[in-house]
């Protein structure tokens, strides 16, 4: 690694410095656009007591579900964890703590963490359990609550094409939480399906500028599908 080149040579190096008790922000929605190889590496490393910030918790045997299996997660900050049965069990057993956060608020908390905005007001969650312990305030005639930014010791994201400087493009809806997650890590690690030379991507079409990326690694993706839905022949006409 020298100059603006972020490429690291192996997954050990990609997650060097990850320690027990750290907070990890992960991109992805369901199993779409998750940094699946980096997650697998965390399981391999066996790092414990992690706080994971991610919209979902994977499924039982893939994605972040792997880290639940191996009981590496202390706390999960997510908007929806309904696809993961292990999650329920660990929650009831008191092994796991969960902080349910509305999806848009979660995305904005990550963005704010990366953008130096310590807190913002949102109407989302006003008057609900989410508002418990939070300041509420009226602007105009509407009620809002104060939500604070989230930052991670590490942020893990999954890109489609990235150049060596870490400038990255996400594919289709695999974009989701990745651009915000990428901004919110003290150390941001990106796995990419394709790595190209600087200059090969259109500068005006970069989703994540390389300034946010500290380490880059190539990762072949399995890309599991959670809900395989197809059009019936009758509709396909």
């Amino acid at each position: 690694m020298s100059g603006l080149n972020k490429l690291v040579s192996n997954y050990d190096e990609a997650l060097q410095g990850l320690e027990d008790g750290m907070t990890i922000i992960a991109g992805g929605f369901g199993l779409c656009g998750i940094p699946e190889n980096l997650i697998a590496q965390i399981q391999k490393m066996g790092t414990k007591d992690l706080t994971i910030v991610s919209n979902n918790a994977g499924v039982d045997e893939f994605g972040l579900g792997l880290l639940l299996q191996s009981q590496q997660v202390k706390k999960m900050i997510a908007s929806y964890v309904g696809e993961n049965k292990l999650f329920e069990k660990q929650l009831l057993d008191g092994i796991l703590e969960v902080e349910l956060t509305p999806q848009g608020t979660l995305a904005e908390k990550m963005r704010s963490g990366g953008a130096g905005i310590p807190a913002f007001y949102t109407a989302t969650g006003y008057g609900t359990d989410v508002a418990t312990g939070k300041e509420s305030r009226k602007f105009g005639d509407k009620d809002y609550i104060l939500e604070e930014a989230i930052k991670g010791d590490f942020a893990l994201v999954k890109a489609w094409k990235a150049d060596l400087h870490g400038n990255a493009i996400y594919r289709m809806t695999a974009q989701n939480f990745n651009p915000m997650a990428a901004t919110a890590g003290k150390i941001t690690v990106m796995e990419a399906e394709y790595i190209v030379e600087p200059g090969e991507l259109d500068p005006a079409q970069i989703h994540t500028p390389g300034i946010y990326v500290n380490r880059l690694i190539q990762g072949d993706s399995e890309k599991r599908i959670e809900q395989r839905t197809i059009r019936q022949d009758s509709e396909a006409s």
């Binding site: 908007s79 509305p102 904005e108 008057g127 809806t173 395989r228 839905t229």
Partner: protein, 218 residues
Amino acid sequence: MALSREQIAQRVAREIQDGFYVNLGIGIPTLVSNYVPEDMEVSLHSENGLLGMGPFPAADEIDADLINAGKQTVTLNKGASIFSSAESFAMIRGGHVDLTVLGAFELDVLGNIASYMIPGKLIKGMGGAMDLVAGADNIIVTMMHADRHGNSKLLNKCTLPLTGVGCIKKVVTDLAYMKISEGKFYLIERAPGTSVDEIISKTEGELVVSGNIPEMAL
């Protein structure tokens, strides 16, 4: 007779206007897309970061990187756009989505909605529902009027944890189309063959029935 799920969707679809950007929740709301009038052009918003969502793919079109908020594989219509979750919820929170349709467990006369959690059952999370109800101006809730035992789900006060406060103004149930304002339900239309008395008996919250209540046109 009570409406089927498809008929509820059909009634909701009549609230769509040409050029609308529409967010459809999981379940009955998803079915609404089947009943958009053919002479109208609408764009479907999916909160994982997609506008212009198309139908499910043919088997050979399936793309793991192209899903909707229900994690189902989908396709893109012409003029679609894809963006981050922050941008997606900027659209929702900023009131740019013209119509939001979502389900509920309970609704009350103050427009409060409970839709994401039943204590004692599995905690799944609110996903984007709290953002949707807080951010949208024009929301239609679809739900069953009463549970299996005939207990009303249209209440004076929600009993389950709330998804949002004072944000619901319209609901289509299997029995009726109602509006909510000033702390009351207003009966606007009844399902074909359903009597006003049945609706009254299955609505716990204060219900205003004014004049002759027409049957829904479906």
